[in-house]
Amino acid sequence: MHTLIVIDRLPYGDWHGREALDMAFSLAAFDRPVTLLFRGAGVNWLRPGQSADQLSQKSVERNLSAATIFGVSALLADKAALRQYRLSSDQLSQSASETDLTPAFYKQFDAVVVL
């Protein structure tokens, strides 16, 4: 069963994204296929040059950099949201692939989790 974990909120504003990431890492730890999708404001997780220490938080960049090492199949970013937030795939902090969020895209997955 391939699960899509969706992060659609800004980093640092709340803990939804971090806890969604924990779900992805847990699935990967049990060798369950899992893909991470950043959509909406969530694409800002991929913004380079984050200074989370100014917010007394840990940077999400370090967490994300471990995703594929821990077995997350892929990091995907909503193409439209990247455009909306003036990000291009070649400047992202992680190697995420752009994707169009069509119904066919979601149908690839057996489960979609959005916290």
């Binding site: 806890e19 924990d22 989790v113």
Partner: protein, 138 residues
Amino acid sequence: MTRSPALSYTLVISGAPYTSQAPQSALAFAKALISGGHKLDRVFLYGDGVYLASSLVTPPSDEVNWTQLWSEFLMQTRTPAVACIASALRRGILDSAEQTRYEQPASNIAEPFEMAGLGDWVEATMTSSRILYFLPTD
């Protein structure tokens, strides 16, 4: 009319009581699925949903105590209920083992809730027919 085959469910609650309707909706659904002949495998509290497991929830006497209602339901139906340990510790929900481990002055998890890791949720994704998520209100 043929009856649909019985299914097994895991309910994931990630919205807190009193700031979201998630625990209330999940309880209504849990009762409905059991009365429909289906099986409730377990309840998994995640994120802000762990506040449901606080034994210190004390609403005014003319308001519903969702923790108490859930606890009664879980005990009557003998349904396992787990609060994600990382979410719970972060939000100040502790059982006696974690109280000891972190040298905190008290524990406050309501019976029959227990604490466990996300591995329980992963297992549920492999064993339950359906996983339903009851989310916080935006």
